[in-house]
Point group: C2
Chain length 474, copies 2
Amino acid sequence: MNAHIKNVEYAVRGELAIKAEALRDQLNKTNSLPFKTIVNCNIGNPQQLQQKPITFFRQVASLCDNPDLLLSENRHIVSQLYPEDALQRAEVLLEHIGSVGAYSHSQGIPHIRENVAKFIAERDGYAADPENIYLTQGASAGVQSILSILVKDKSTGILIPTPQYPLYSATLSLLDATPVPYLLDESQDWSLNVTDLETSVSTARANGTDVRALVIINPGNPTGQCLSEENMREIIEFCYTQQIVLLADEVYQTNIYEPEARPFHSFKKVLMSMDSIFHDLELVSFHSISKGMIGECGRRGGYFEAHAIDPEVMSQIYKIASVSLCPNVHGQILVDLMCQPPKQGDPSFEKYSQEIGSIYSSLRRRSRKLEACFNSLEGVTCNPAYGAMYLFPQIRLPAKAIADAEAHGKAADNFYCLEMLDATGVCVVPGSGFGQKEGTWHFRSTFLPPEDLFDDFCENLTNFHKQFMNKYRD
Amino acid sequence: MNAHIKNVEYAVRGELAIKAEALRDQLNKTNSLPFKTIVNCNIGNPQQLQQKPITFFRQVASLCDNPDLLLSENRHIVSQLYPEDALQRAEVLLEHIGSVGAYSHSQGIPHIRENVAKFIAERDGYAADPENIYLTQGASAGVQSILSILVKDKSTGILIPTPQYPLYSATLSLLDATPVPYLLDESQDWSLNVTDLETSVSTARANGTDVRALVIINPGNPTGQCLSEENMREIIEFCYTQQIVLLADEVYQTNIYEPEARPFHSFKKVLMSMDSIFHDLELVSFHSISKGMIGECGRRGGYFEAHAIDPEVMSQIYKIASVSLCPNVHGQILVDLMCQPPKQGDPSFEKYSQEIGSIYSSLRRRSRKLEACFNSLEGVTCNPAYGAMYLFPQIRLPAKAIADAEAHGKAADNFYCLEMLDATGVCVVPGSGFGQKEGTWHFRSTFLPPEDLFDDFCENLTNFHKQFMNKYRD
Ligand SMILES: Cc1ncc(COP(=O)(O)O)c(C=O)c1O
Ligand SMILES: Cc1ncc(COP(=O)(O)O)c(C=O)c1O
């Protein structure tokens, strides 16, 4: 068997998640647990926790699925169910796609790539080329292809943050490459310190590791940070000087909760706003339909933009994409809709804005409520979520709890999270699943439980924490 | 850069396909080519060539996309557009799935896996366990995961047929494993000769290659063969004796054109019908929604059943699946519909059967027409397609054509196919993209062009071939 696969760890769907499934089965059979439901806060999966999909997006998707609805003989019935702009959008898409049941171009449907390029140009104020855009089955697939191309062998090093989203560590294990961790600074809102980055690179290089790329997740998962433009410029200069490819995971670009103080800037925009010598920096930026206010995780859609990537590498990217034939067309359609949503004046615009707006403000309220809840707990501190869907509180556990965890052969944070699951039905992920500074303990929780249950949710967590602390108080 | 990726060849979407795209662009701009359209016979992509989707499947899919259509206040309008069984099926699916926008279980939605298990049990007469079924993003993704787990390093050998579907050779290149080719016997309807298999294995093992698995594509791509039950039993005995995992790619299981003489048998069924000592043989069987009469390639859905696979390997399979989070839910829904289509008595049954039946008989007619056309050409011989969607004629080219090809730095079959594309707009794939017996030349063509254009299509190919032969006649 492939030994690298044995080393893969994937905490988001690991021990805690599997135990949560087992408890859910148990709940379905008996009522013998101290809670009524399992609350999956282990994964950023909004529609699993009752977030409603965007109506316009689903309307267009369903018309593309069932083009009989667009036949003129059905129009008088269908127009009672669908607004005119949804019908028109589906017609335009099908004109370009043909059937959603056909394999598409391996790189993604050209018309949709053009719409992605327009979106990027409008967002950044700098042009984008559809030829540099690849549609993917979620950002996950894009990240995995790019890493597989950059990695030569064990000697290849890829800089990844601590803490990080485990897609990165897991993919590097699979490829048998060397992760080169750098620390995000919890005391500075999880920002990057370029001096630390330089140390990480020179140490790795001194050990014979060929450091080729730097992964940045911004807005951050699990940290919720949102980088300042100044910090981003330093990072770009660093990559340029060190001849390192920059991989920018920007899937949370619209989950921004302090837009004045901490707006989102894309790395592409910051790069293009800098002196033209930096424009040659190799940058790949990832985006997804799974996050933002859209939350269409189950469709698996996304894209990456490859900026200034070596043409030979570009041709390898195409080849890899073609072995898997094409990304699923439904995901591609959602990418189109995400990039070109209804505009002012369109029949669906008002409803669309209202839906996006209400999800957004609810997410912001929930993030603050949960942050306040965590910060009110004994021994817990938690940075605010400037972005993304998660909080990553630090927990200071009593020595007795740590000893008890050790006696059970568990890391202390894992032990804490398992007790939380047993007591409350809430499933979170221990900090060790993401990596954390030696000697500190954290866990990651989404703030996605439905708003009407949120007070209960916070109260349950608070009660659990109190009991846990009392149980293990020294 | 990853050197293994440089070695990947993927002919189905290679030079010919890229040139065909360029010619299509040229056609859109000017009318200066000797044909009116590009006909993509390079890929089994039925809906690209105007095959209609199955109405019931698309109805259910569209209802799952837009659950507002299921609201009771819309029912009086919606029931003018949708039959009752489509509405009910969508309701059942959504009850189990929640939202199609949520990440599902990494292994696939449990309810759908149960339906797959029922389908397998009905097909084979032997039970299947939903826990052994993984839903995948097309068979491609399933094959890639399983191979990535079986391959340890360069020393791992995987038996693959010559000719083969290039997913296999490409994936082995990517994984830097050793392909161990075995020949399909063109003179015996492309069947497998177990003595040859034994020779391939012992030679490879003598060279230090650890042969772990045998890939069989049945019905065959590109060959169109359909194996006899007797041949399958020999293969199973061979794998059992040699302790080799059997990977059965059965995506064309319903594309069977001589059901009396050459019916499809699944390897699972044949295995279970044999003496129980063989039941321990490790077998993975792949299926897909892309083929058959369904042809929903763009959705990327499929499954594999893992039979008697080592539990430790099973847990690695789960881990790999979870790194990619989950297969797209739309593809999963189509797997459900493929496995449990409308039944006798359901409102949609008649239409469903009529649609499947008419696609089936048209495919069969087209396969015979194209076979007859190929066999009528000078120097060309072609086995019938007992299954799948392709013919793989052998072409005997004049020495002058071979010399001219060499002078252009091209393989002779590639040269022939490029000239065909230039003259007719028909894009096929040279035999070298699949592998062929040394000193023989072939090409693969689907028989998917629409039936009303089929006579023209055959005539164009015939005229091209005559001109080619005359041009290069010695
Ligand atoms: C930082 C980050 N990147 C990528 C992904 C993958 O998203 P998807 O593959 O659904 O697009 C996630 C999902 O949670 C994520 O948090
Ligand atoms: C033999 C064979 N296996 C697997 C596949 C992949 O099918 P998909 O990934 O669309 O399910 C194909 C597609 O043509 C094929 O011919």
